[in-house]
Amino acid sequence: MTETKRITMREAISQALWEEMERDERVFILGEEVGVWGGTYAVTKGFYDHFGPERVKDTPIAEAAIIGAGIGAAMVGQRPVAELMTINFAFAAMDHIVNEAAKLRYMFGGQFKIPLVIRTVGGGGRQLGATHSQTPDAIFAHFPGLKVVSPGTPYDAKGLLKAAIRSDDPILFIEHATMYQVRGEVPVDEDYTVPIGKSTIQRPGSDVTIVTYSKGLELSTKAADQLAREGIEAEIVDLRTLRPLDMEPVITSFKKTNRAVVVEEGWRSFGVGSEIASRIYEEAFDYVDAPIQRVAQKEVPLPYNRTLEQAALPQVEDIVKAVKEVL
């Protein structure tokens, strides 16, 4: 049995970066406050002193330059990890993510490889107001050529980030701002990766399928605990990667439970839930026993006031209610 240790999401991500930088000299970090400051979420604390300024590069506040330079360095064989302080700032680099990173390989007939990881932080719940609290994951998952990964456990965060750094494709790696203290078992001294583009069952159950990822996993797990006390066994499928989307565990689970709730933190319209529900209807229509429910953020810019903010974000009770709706 592999020895494991209970560590935080922050430690898991930090370990993945550290180990990959030790393993491969081509890996370096660039971004705002990643070096001297140690990362605004303290993920790269200690990196600057250990790896030096050439491998932990503090950039100007210039998101297009951060991502553009990351793409260019990746094109000529380095393996940069470009950090966007939050996903809200990705809009300032949208052209480079969407028009360059996602398209250059295809558009030039396969001549380029872009082994770039864009690490960023999304999500609300910290009273940062509407511009700093978004969960726009679905927007990025819309573009062929880009991969979008968003882990829900420390084990997956570490394994997926290591896989992302070793991948030759551009990958947007989205962490959640309120999950850095989430703890989980992670193998000690084991160089493992988690495959990108594979969904997984995080909790087995037979009555209903909850499909979710990232922060939604934490909420759904709490909801499942509550439901279990009432004798309802929910099966939780964690997508982990939004593009390419692996529907197999979702469909398998749904064919067993015939009922599904999709939980995401982003807005409901045109969101992850819409995509998952459509695919279930397309691929398993004969197994549908109840309309699929979507739990998502209310359709407003996220307000500052704590009560209003929480009212807009999906809550455990919303998931419990949605599950009871489909049963």
């Binding site: 330059a65 793409i71 260019g72 360095a73 380095q78 360059e100 007939g109 380029f112 050529g145």
Partner: protein, 346 residues
Amino acid sequence: MRQVFPQADCEKINGIRNTIGNILSGVIMEIQEHLDLYYQMVLIRRVEERGAELYQAGKIGGFMHLYIGQEAVSTGLVAARKPQDRFITAYRDHGLALNVGIPAEQVMAELLGKSTGISKGKGGSMHMADVEKNFWGGHAIVGAHLPLAAGLALGDQYAKNDSVTVCMFGDGATNIGFFHEAVNLSKVWKLPVLWVCENNQYGMGTAVERASAVSEIRQKAEGYGIPNERVDGMNVLAVKEATAKALDYIRAGNGPYFLEMITYRYRGHSMGDPERYRESDEVKKWQENDPIGIYHARLLTEKIASQEEFDAIDARVAEEVQAAVQFAEESPEPAMEELFADVYVE
């Protein structure tokens, strides 16, 4: 209101030429090299003239931006490179593609969207690249390739090699944020990049002075503390000379350099440009300064080459272009499997 290009600017360019002096006699070059530069410029022009015809005939789709009039810039730049130096440019990329050595066949085939095109027919006019020849594209979003250029240079700086990235862009690109982010970063990190602004006087149909706070684009580099100069972009030797100096400066580890090439495009911004923004007299004035014409005349006057040699080159180019068109027209369409190929590596 119609914009008339001021006579003064043509004089300014002649002024630049005079200060550079008689470059032809000042630079020692093999006769063959002179003839090769002439050949490359003529090749670009003839390939594009045929391209324009094929476009009119409906054989080329999408947007097509011709380089005609600006041939001396990319030709002079490439003439000064070392093989390890990387090139990246915007969407007006046929000239550079030919200069770095992509065969005219593959350029023409890409224009026609054929499987034998340099980007397998999936990029088109604006997206040509050849990694083998250190040509990193043809990029269609104005200014967006400048951060990429900073990244190519960053990759080389990180690898501690002596490559320099040459990044070409138009005057219009210097008004977008990408330019400022990339140029600033290049100076902060002392990146080995040569910024080359091709000031062809218009960003689409908007004259430089109507769009840029400073009409001397090089002043923007000055603002970031980057050494810079204006160069007569109609004179291939002036371009080559200035580029060689700049590359030496960068390769010595001094950080970026900025060249503003004063040039002019004879054709519209792209095919189908009604050209309401300029008078035909203005185009004619610039054509008196034609990069191929003045070079040809000078090589003849200074008895470096004979008219027979030029005739031979012209004939060779005509043949090459004809062969390229035939190759492109006879090449197969991309296979349907190609539709899903190369979205990802894995």
